[in-house]
Subunit: 291 residues, 2 copies
Amino acid sequence: MRVSPEQLAALVAVVDHGTFDAAARHLSVSPSAVSQRIRALESRLGRVVVARSAPCRPTEAGRVLLRLARQQQLLEREALAELHAGEHTAVEVAVAVNADSLATWFARVLDACASWPDVTVRLHVEDQDHSAALLRSGAVLAAVTSDPVAVQGCAVERLGTMRYLPVAAPALARVHGGERGTDWAAMPVVRFNAKDDLQHRLLASRGVTVSPPTHVVPSSEGFVAAVRAGLGWGMVPREQLGDDLATGRLVRLGDAEAVDVPLHWQCWRLRSERLGRVSAAVRAAAAALHR
Amino acid sequence: MRVSPEQLAALVAVVDHGTFDAAARHLSVSPSAVSQRIRALESRLGRVVVARSAPCRPTEAGRVLLRLARQQQLLEREALAELHAGEHTAVEVAVAVNADSLATWFARVLDACASWPDVTVRLHVEDQDHSAALLRSGAVLAAVTSDPVAVQGCAVERLGTMRYLPVAAPALARVHGGERGTDWAAMPVVRFNAKDDLQHRLLASRGVTVSPPTHVVPSSEGFVAAVRAGLGWGMVPREQLGDDLATGRLVRLGDAEAVDVPLHWQCWRLRSERLGRVSAAVRAAAAALHR
């Protein structure tokens, strides 16, 4: 069975742009042409490839085709770019990165990319569960993730560890501190989202069984802003603290340990020069992490 | 038909925690008790309320019940808190906010909340399409959104406008500038996500029909970091620029206009003292926006 490049491109556009109309605009064809290509793909496969929801989502079969399409696309664009060497044809490299990395060391990867006219980056900010799905579907070619288990078809290498410190605004630490140390059961806590268990693991290790007042702020910089505002204590990446500890804007909750979260680079096994370059930039930027 | 509070609580826990097992742990009951309550709810209604997917998701009928549950919860907790006035019982107020607001003026709302021991905040960082769904489902009680159309049951008020300026790193602006002004078709551009059309609207108004090399960075602070790194130009909220224009770290692309995005506060019509206090803090913090 052969699948035509036009059909694959229609599938990619529908998933990327969410609707058949938006996909048609992107491809500069009519919506009915997009619809025909998708239906042709589906009748060849005998399976539905995209759920007509808002936005449209790939089915399991659609995801396999998407991965194929995106990998073919990268290789094809690179080959074309090589043939038109003078023209600096930009090729997109899609990468998933966790929010705390993007807020800290990963910004240096952007510095490197800025000097490459032949690469555009498409970042997905995702937690690790979702990263694996994005790698499997081919929506991203590589991911910064704490997950050390290689997704099938990917190589994985360790980048280092991100060190998180338990910190709070001085006023908050004073109210809930005392001679016997921090009153963990009473001091409000900030959480990134429902999957963020850094704070609650620390509470559990202290034998705290009640849940203290908990605020939820699902943005890396917003999280630090909330901790600085005194909303609650939180585990903050050391690199994100800047000089907050030196200036006394935040204090480290002294009777609790730092937590090291290992980070890995998962990358599709593809002979792509650009992907290799991005990987090298990620490795270089990650040199600032703990080993 | 009466729905028991236990059944509603089971539904809320299953949706909040994603699985029947996690909901059971949260409620300190057995997984089979959770399952029984959900099935009792469904047989009373004659409709499925939660899809047994991973994670579990509410159906249309389930969403109506969730809204009811969350509104009842807020009112009930407030009443209880009033009865136990000395104990500072914290009540959760869930709010949706767009990423650029959280990265700028909304941080001052967190400052206000930090002085209220009786409120915890649960932020959802969402674009406006999703905000409306969150309001309808009752997952949030209020939202900062650019959408001026009130969701049914909500009051809407205008907060002001966020002013976006077209900016770039000086080196990038130099390469793509010249006597005839900016070469918009060639200069790389940074986009927040597929729904962010601020940059492309400007390009369209300039008659640019080809798409320049486009990077995608879906984090408010990451977006500014990418523009500072020289990855591409972008529309950045004026408040987020700090002194970048004064110090020359970024330059304004002089031949393009600023874009004003109006922001609104959509809020459930509920007699909740805490929600009223959050609304007042949002209004005060938004005073820094353009009128």
